[in-house]
Point group: C2
Chain length 80, copies 2
Amino acid sequence: MARVVVDVMLKPEILDPQGQAIARKLPQMGYDGVVAVRQGKRFEVELEGEADEEALERVGQIAESLLANPVIENYEIRVI
Amino acid sequence: MARVVVDVMLKPEILDPQGQAIARKLPQMGYDGVVAVRQGKRFEVELEGEADEEALERVGQIAESLLANPVIENYEIRVI
């Protein structure tokens, strides 16, 4: 059994109003020194078998079709 | 300038209906071999200065008070 992480973030050129709202709120809460915040999604995918090349290829297809919107989001797959 | 990642996941004992819905959908889409999916949030926090001990301490406070709900979520901070 293996666990794979899929990180999904908005592409850099896409505005992230959620992250901007957090970044704007921080100074009001007394936290200085944060230039920017971007918010994305993190998926932990537990596989029945090993995280071999074929399994990671399948996770990539799942990310493309279900976890991320490839038009506006990038994704990254990591075995943990 | 440093970039810090805050990963926020539901605690293991907390049900994750979003992740469950994804896991249930996969076999219907032709993807077998996935036992479970859990969905969380990933924040990229860009700091004005270095990611030293004091800055990471501050990011921890931000995570506790704004990014995560410590009652139901765990968070993890990493410098990237």
